[in-house]
């Protein structure tokens, strides 16, 4: 990745953290956290699985809003009528896309920082398992994947109304209960065993990398970079196949 892409990544990342949509999503997380804290103070015992769903829902909304924010950032040139102006500059469009993709890392890092005290508080109130930790990491990976999806949509379907439609589509196509093995491929799916949760995590990483590759492919990125991305993508696909094969065995994967 070029130095310009890294510099752009920092600039885009900082802007994403200040984006009203990201801040709104953070508000959802705080509300969900407040609900969990209240439960833990009022009730004698709390269970992460049963009582922390509000936090997960908050992060999910944050991820969807982050997706719209990254989409708008990726469409900024077009919305401002600056596409041709920027074509006259030496940094290629692929580097600009690379910068946007790297910028997604900032919201993910911010969410990790936001999550850390929540996790520590929960650990002081209830016993947390390796599966719970995997679910937490899965949530962060979900935010990154959705952020990358926002960029990919902007590159292939450059219309600012499509990301909100995609966000609604993701919500509506995720049923409350997993009644088909294909539902294990939903980014929101939650595996009920450590091995499947790990596979879902690999699957999300692979999906994010595939989407990043798709975005870069649109900008005629260097072939070597696309080949590396494709390699990681294969791992993601393999994980997806594994999930589809194993889910939804009795109680093994939920949405």
């Amino acid at each position: 990745m070029s130095q310009a892409a890294r510099a752009l990544g920092g600039l885009e990342g900082r802007r994403l953290l200040r984006h009203p949509l990201f801040l709104t999503g953070t508000g959802f997380v705080l509300i969900g956290t407040a609900y969990f804290v209240r439960s833990s103070l009022v009730e004698a015992t709390v269970a992460w699985d049963d009582d922390a769903w509000t936090i997960g829902a908050g992060f999910t909304f944050l991820g969807l809003l982050a997706m719209i924010a990254t989409n708008l950032a990726a469409l900024r040139d077009r919305r401002a009528g600056a596409v041709e102006q920027h074509e006259t500059l030496p940094v290629a469009r692929a580097s600009r896309t690379g910068g946007l993709l790297l910028g997604v890392g900032w919201p993910v890092a911010a969410c990790a920082l936001l999550f850390a005290p929540i996790w520590l508080f929960a650990a002081s109130k209830t016993e947390l398992s390796a599966l719970d930790l995997l679910h937490a990491v899965d949530t962060l990976a979900l935010i990154g994947t959705l952020g990358v999806l926002g960029v990919a949509i902007a590159r292939w379907l450059p219309n600012p109304f499509l990301a909100p439609v995609a966000a609604w589509g993701l919500i509506l196509t995720s049923p409350a209960e997993a009644n088909s093995r294909w539902h294990a491929l939903s980014p929101f799916a939650s595996a009920e065993s450590v091995d499947l949760a790990a596979w879902h995590l690999v699957y999300l990483f692979g999906l994010a990398i595939c989407l990043a590759g798709a975005a870069l492919l649109r900008d005629r990125a260097p072939r070597a970079l696309v080949a590396v991305i494709a390699g990681f993508g294969v791992a993601g696909v393999a994980a997806g196949v594994m999930l589809v094969t194993a889910c939804p065995g009795p109680g093994r994967c939920q949405i």
């Binding site: 600039l11 041709e84 102006q85 074509e87 030496p90």
Partner: protein, 289 residues
Amino acid sequence: MEDASLRVEAIEKRFGSVPALNGVTMDAGPGITGLLGPNGAGKTTLLRMLATVLAPDSGTLQLLGLDPTRSAERVEIRRRLGYMPQEPGFYRSFTAFEFVDYVAILKEMTDRDERHREVRRVLDAVGLGDVSTRKVRALSGGMRQRLALAQALLRDPDLLVLDEPTAGLDPEQRLRFREIVSQLPHRPVVILSTHQTEDVTALCERVVVLAEGAIRFDGTPVELARTAEDRVWIREDRDDRAVLSWRMGDGRYRHIGDPPPGAALSPATIDDAYLLMVGGTADREGVAA
């Protein structure tokens, strides 16, 4: 040694069935070259080619001694190019500083401290240093024009392409613009497209008049004015023999064309020459009187 010039030879460009440029040939070296022409003359098409975003259908183009049709050379040209489009696109939610900083990254300035110094330098140069923290959406039209100029000045370009940079500026802002462009430190090749003949007179060492996709004149502003010598006269009433005439502030009429015998000739200006040259092709709204 680096070639600090541009050469355009027999360039042709069509958009569908509409010809935009018909065999344009010109060259330019360090200094300011004005490009005058009415709307639809092909100025912006030519400037987009000089800015490496549009390729000609035929003909050859050499910018700073490099061939923009070759990918590697095009990137090198872009490193040394500053471009201010006719309608610059701004990121309205950015501050002035952030916007220029963003463009600076796209100009491969990846060292943060060095880049920020350069951003402050160009913002100061265009007189926006004091409003650098203001959002672009809160800047006036004139300030935005200067912001567009600031981004074009990043890294002291060897080739500066300015497409109607003074459009919409008030007289004071136009004078400020002239001051900035005339004081560029290392004499880059500047191509200045404009409707404002006053800017050409004040700034340009050379002027090229483009009309209907072809070059009508290429020379100094004085030579351009000279083409209308003995073809400008003043009378108390309108003379139908004039190509163009208008009523002046003192109530008399200024005419340009072939004067009748015994007419009271008046010294020609660059405006007169330009109007004569583009004749009926001129969209007169765009011509400064």
